[in-house]
Symmetry: D2
C-alpha cells in the first residue's frame, strides 16, 4: 500500500519515467501557512547535482500543488502535489527488463507483477519516489516547527567514516545547525571530509558505499504513542522503511543496548526545572512506546547503492541463463548523502501523524485525583 499514517494519510504515487510523480496528503489541518520557498529549499536539499558526491543528472523537482492549498494556506481538503518527469523518453527498455540488476527490486517485482511493472528507471521502486515523500515531509515540518518541534538529521557514518553522535539531551540550536552548511551534512567538519573521501574512493573503484543517518525530533510533548502496536517507535520505523535502501532502524542506544546492563541503559528520573524529566536519554526519547519529552533519536542503516559500475553476475530472464550486467548511467555512489532530508521528511510525517492522534483523555476530564 502506497500509504502511510493514521490521521495524516500520505499516498505516494508515480514511477521514475511516468508522466509525473506526486503525493496526496489527506488530513492536513486547515489554516496552516505553507511557505513554498521554504518547501522548495527543503526539496533542493534532496535534489541531485549539488556536488561531486551525487549524480550529475539535472532534476529540478519543482512541485506543483494541484489542490488543498489556497492563498498560502492549507484549506482542509486533501493536498496533492506533483512533479513532472521531464525525462521520460520511451526508449526500448526490453534490455532493461531482461537483465535484473542485483539487489534492486527488478526481479522480485517482475515475479510479483508478472512482467507488467514499469521497469524504466526502476519504475515505482525508484529512489525518485522519495521526492514526493519530501514534499509531504517538508509540509509536515513547517507545521511542526511552528509548534516548537524540530526535526534534524545528519550523516552518522559513511563506510568507516563516522560523525560524532547527536547529544541525546540535545539543544535546538545544535539541531538547527545540523541541517545547515556542510556537505555531506555532519556535525563535525572532520567527519564531512572523511566521508567525502569514502565516497570518492567508492566512485573511483566503480563501486558504492553505505551509510547511517541519525535523526532527532526535539520538542515533542510527553505522552504521544502507546503500548504494543501503538508505540511511536513502531510507527516511525514503519515510515522509515518506506525509504528505499533502508536495512535497519534503531532508537536511542539501539543495538548497543543489547550489550549493556540495565543499570547502564536505564534512564533515571529527576526533577529538572520543576518538572519530571529523564536525566539521561538512552531510550532515544521513547519509553514503552510513549514520548518522554527528551528528543526522539533514531538511526537508519542504508545499504550501498546497488547500481555499481562494475560488471555483475545476473541472469537473462528471457534466456533463463546466467548473464553479465554492467549498469550504465550516472548513479549516486552513496544514497546516504541525499537521504538526510528524506529521513527528516518521514520523521516529520510520523511525528505530525502522532500529534494528530485522538487524545488519550478528553479535554474535560481532569487528572485522576485532581
Amino acid at each position: 500500500m502506497a500509504f502511510y499514517g493514521s490521521n495524516l494519510r500520505v499516498t505516494v504515487f508515480g514511477q521514475s519515467h511516468a508522466a509525473a510523480i506526486g503525493v496526496t496528503i489527506d488530513g492536513l489541518p486547515a489554516g496552516e501557512a505553507i511557505d513554498i520557498e521554504a518547501l522548495e529549499a527543503f526539496l533542493a536539499r534532496r535534489a541531485p547535482g549539488q556536488n561531486r558526491m551525487t549524480t550529475q543528472r539535472k532534476e529540478p523537482d519543482k512541485p506543483e500543488i494541484l489542490c488543498g492549498f489556497l492563498d498560502g494556506h492549507t484549506c482542509g481538503a486533501p493536498l496533492t502535489a506533483v512533479i513532472r518527469n521531464t525525462d521520460t523518453r520511451s526508449k526500448d527498455y526490453a534490455a532493461i527488463a531482461d537483465l535484473p540488476r542485483p539487489s534492486h527490486a527488478d526481479w522480485p517485482a517482475d515475479v510479483k507483477y508478472g512482467g507488467w511493472q514499469d521497469v524504466r528507471g526502476g519504475g515505482a521502486f525508484s529512489a525518485r519516489l522519495t521526492a514526493p515523500l519530501c514534499i509531504a515531509g517538508g509540509i509536515a515540518l513547517q507545521l511542526l516547527e511552528r509548534r516548537g518541534i524540530r526535526v534534524a538529521a545528519h550523516i552518522r557514518s559513511i563506510g568507516s567514516a563516522e560523525d560524532r553522535p547527536f547529544n541525546p539531551l540535545g539543544e535546538p540550536d545544535e539541531v538547527l545547525e545540523a541541517r545547515l552548511g556542510r556537505t555531506p551534512v555532519t556535525l563535525s567538519d572532520e567527519a564531512a571530509a572523511a566521508m567525502q573521501a569514502e565516497v570518492e574512493a567508492a566512485r573511483k573503484s566503480a563501486d558504492s558505499v553505505g551509510g547511517v543517518i541519525e535523526c532527532m525530533i526535539s520538542g515533542m510533548p510527553v505522552g504521544l504513542g502507546g503500548p504494543l502496536f501503538e508505540g511511536l517507535d513502531g510507527r516511525i520505523a514503519q515510515a522509515v522503511f518506506g525509504i528505499p535502501a533502508v536495512k535497519g532502524v534503531e532508537f536511542g542506544l539501539g543495538f548497543e543496548a543489547s550489550r549493556l546492563r540495565g543499570s547502564q541503559n536505564n534512564d533515571p528520573y529527576g526533577m529538572v526545572g520543576g518538572r519530571v524529566t529523564p536525566l539521561t536519554n538512552r531510550a532515544g526519547g521513547i519509553a514503552g512506546g510513549i514520548t518522554t519529552g527528551r528528543p526522539i533519536i533514531f538511526r537508519v542503516a542504508l545499504k550501498p547503492t546497488p547500481s555499481i559500475g562494475r560488471p555483475q553476475q545476473t541472469v537473462s530472464l528471457k534466456g533463463q541463463c546466467d548473464a553479465e550486467l554492467k549498469v550504465t548511467g550516472r548513479h549516486d555512489p552513496c544514497v546516504a548523502v541525499r537521504a538526510v532530508p528524506i529521513v527528516e521528511a518521514v520523521a516529520a510525517v510520523a511525528a505530525l501523524d502522532a500529534l494528530l492522534d485522538a487524545p488519550a483523555r478528553l479535554p474535560d476530564v481532569p487528572r485522576r485525583g485532581a
Copy 2:
C-alpha cells in the same frame, strides 16, 4: 492502536492484573486445523518458570478459545482467545503509582492517560501482553508450516556472548533445530553456556542484560510485499516494534551493510535448479520491499530488563521531588531469553498477513508477453 495487520487483523487486549488478557484475530481463513496441543507447547516456550534464567512466577497461560473455532478448525469468524489472570489481587497500588520505574512506560503513560491508566504490574504495557501475541503467532505458524513456510528464531547474543548467525541460505532442518532443545535457544552449545553465564552474572549483581534475537522465515514465495510503505520489511518491523523492549530491527546485513561497498553487499543472480535465484542473501530475503525467495532474516535488539534490583533514582509524582526506588519482586534478568517465541510469533503474523494480500495480478491475467 492495539491492532496489527491488513488482512489478518490482530487486536491484543488486557492488562497484567485485569481479569484477563487476550487476542482477537479477524480474517483468519476458514477450514484451518489448529492443533491446540501444539499451540500450548508453543506458548509454553514463552512461559516463565522454565529454568534459572527466567522468573520463578507460576503462570500457566492456558488460553481459552472463546469463538472462531469449531471441531478443531477455524470457522471463518473472528477467533478470540483469552488467558485469565489468576493473580489479580487488588493490592494498594498507590505506592507503585507514585514512583515511576526508570525506562518503563510508567511515567509517560501517567502523563498520557492523566493517571487513569492501570499501573498494577505494568498494566497494558506489561510484557505479559506478549502471551496473546504468541497465541496469534502460534496459530499463524500452523497455517504457515502447513504450506512449507517455517519461522524460527534463536538468541544471537546476550551481552557480549554471541551465537553464530543463521546461514543466510539456510535449510529448513537447521531452522527446525533452532527451535528445539537448548536453553537459551541457540545454534551452538557454547553460545548457550556463555549466555547462561552472562545472565547469571547480571542476576548476581542485581542487574539485567540485553540481547539480540535473530529470526528466519524460510519458504516464503517470491513476490510478496511491494514498494515504499508496502515493503514487507516495513510491515515486519512494525510488528516487531509491537514487542515491548525492542530498540532496533535490521534485515540481512543490516547496519553492517552501511559499512560495506555495493560490490560486497549486492546479491548477484544465477540459475539454480533451473530457477532464477539470488546466489547470496545479504539482503535478508527482501529486495525493494519484496521477497526474493531466499530466507527472510532479521535481527531484533532488546534492551536489558528495566526492572533491576539495584536502587535507582526516580521521582515521587505526588511529592514532585527526587526519590529512590528499589524494584522488588521477581523479574527476568534478560527479556531476550523468553523473547524467542515472541519474535517468531510476530514474524508469523506478519508473514501470514502478507500471504493473504490481494494478488498483484488476477489469476486470469497471464504474464506479459505470454
Copy 3:
C-alpha cells in the same frame, strides 16, 4: 471485517453457540466513568423475554468486562467485554447445515466458507451478535450523554402501523421520553397498540413482519464529518448496515426528498439566539456530510424476521435437490421490536468515533481573518 471505526475501533466477535460473544473497544478515552448498572439496563432493553412480542428464550446477557476498566473508569487500554453463551449444547447440527433457511446467511456463508462456518444458531451471523454491539454502544452513550449528546430511537413503523415522526427540531426531553416506557418504544400510545396488533397478527399466522426504526442524535457540535467518503452520514450508514436485517438507511427526508422540489427540501438559515442555525431540518442534521447542529435523524428499514413457522421451499445441499423446510424454535416475529437499542448503539458508536476525529484545524490556529 468485524471492525468499525476510525478512532474508536470496535471489533465484535463470537458465534451464537460458541463459548462466548463479545467486543473489544480500542481507542476509548481514559478516565471515563462507566456506570455498569446503567449499561446493564441498556442491554436489558435489547434482551428477549420482555413481553409477548419477543421470543421467550432466557438470555441474561450479563457482560463481563475483562480489561480496560478500573475502579469504575476506563483506563485507556482496550476494553473487552464478553457474554458467555450458556446454551451451547453440541447437538447434531448436520440437519441444520443441510437445509439453508431462506433469506438467512446460511447458504451464501456455506459457499463463502466452504462448509467450515459455524452453523449452530446462525453462528457469526446470528442476531445475538448485536449484544456486543450494544455493549459498545451502551458505553459510547455514557460518554456522549455526559457531554450533552443524546441518542434515542423509536419504532417508526411495523408493517402498516406507523408512529408519528420525531420533531426534526426536537428537544432533548422528547428524546429522553422516547427511550422510556412503552413497548414497543414509540412516541405515541396509539402507535404502540397498533404495532402490537401487527406483531400479534404475524405471529398467529406463523409469519413475521418488518419495521422501521427512527433514530435521533441531538447535541452534536456543528462541523463534524466532511466531504465525500468523510461524510458523517456515510459513516453512520456503514455502522447501521452492521446490524443484521437492515435493508435501507435514509437521513432527514430521505427517499421522500427525491420527490420534492429544492424549495421544499432546502433548509434556510436564520439567526436563532444569536447563532447561525438552519431554520428547518429536512436534511436530518447533516449537510454536505457535515453536522449542522440540528439533530441528526435517520431511519433504518428492517426486513421481517426470515425465520418463520410456515413451511418454506429450500434445497438439500447434501442431496442437491429441492426440499421443504419448517423452521422450529422460538423467534421474534419482528426484529424491529428489539432493534431500538441496537440502532441507538451503532449510532452512539458512530457519533463518538466522529467526536474523536482529529480536528480540522489545530487549536492554536484562529479563524481566518480573526
Copy 4:
C-alpha cells in the same frame, strides 16, 4: 477521509476551482488493459452540456493519467489521473463566503475549517469531485466487465415520474440496454418523457427536483462479503454516501420490506440448472451481508439540487444577521440526471474492492467433508 476501499484504495482530491481534481487508485491489479476511449466515453455520460436537462457549462473533463499505466495496461503501481480545472479565475469570492447557500456544505464547512476552506464553486464539496470518482469507477468497470460482471443504473424516478424497476432476476442484456440511449437513462421511453417534463417544470419555476437512481450489479460470484461490518451492503452503502446529495440507500425491497410479512419477503431456494439458487430476489442479491449470486440491486435517493434560482433566506456570516440569497449561475435542476454513471462508478469500485478480498478459505483447503 477522502478515501474508500480495503483492497482497492481510492483517494479523491481536488476542489472545484483548484488547479486540478483527480484520483489515486492504489491496489489496482497489474496487467489490466484499460481502454482509454471507453473510459472517456464513460466520463462523457456524466459530463454536463448534453441536453437541456443539464447545465450548459462546457466541461470536457479529459483525464490525464499521470502514472500507474503503461503500454495500455495497469502496471501495479498506484494509478493517478487528474483533470485540469480550466475555469479557475480568482474572482473575489468574499461575497460567496459571506452568504452560505441553504442545504450546501458552505456553512457547516465554514465552522469546521474556521473559514480556511476553499469556497469557490463549492470547493472540495463540489459535485465536480464526482468526475474523479467516475475515473476510478470507469476503470473498475472495465476490470469487472472482462470477468462477466456488469454494473448498470437507470433513473428510477424524478419527482413523481417513475420508471419501471429492474427485473430483480434481470438479464445482462437488459442491464446493458439500461446504460444506452435514452436521456435521462430509463428502462422505458414513457418514463424518460415524464421525467423530462418534471425537470422542465422545475427549471421553469427556478426550482430543482430530486430523484432516485436504481443500480444493478450482475454476475458477482456467490460468497462475497460477510457478517456485521463485513457485509457487502454496508460497504456499498459507504461508497454511495460518498456521492454528494445522497440521502438514502436501500437494497432489494428496501424500505418496502419493512411493510411486508416474512413469507412475502423471503427468497426460497431451488435447484436451477443444477445449482442452488434463490428463486426470487427480494433481498437485492445480498443475504446476511453476502452475495447470493442474484443481481445486487440497490436504490439511491438524491435530494433536489440545493442551488435554485429563487430567493432564499440565509444569513450574513460577516454581519451575523439574516439575509436573502439569490443563487446565480447555471445549475442542473436535477442532480439525478447526471448521477447515473456516478452511482455505477461507486458500485463498480465497491464491487471490485470486494472481489479483491482475501479469500475466506485458502485455495488448498477443500470443502468441509470433501
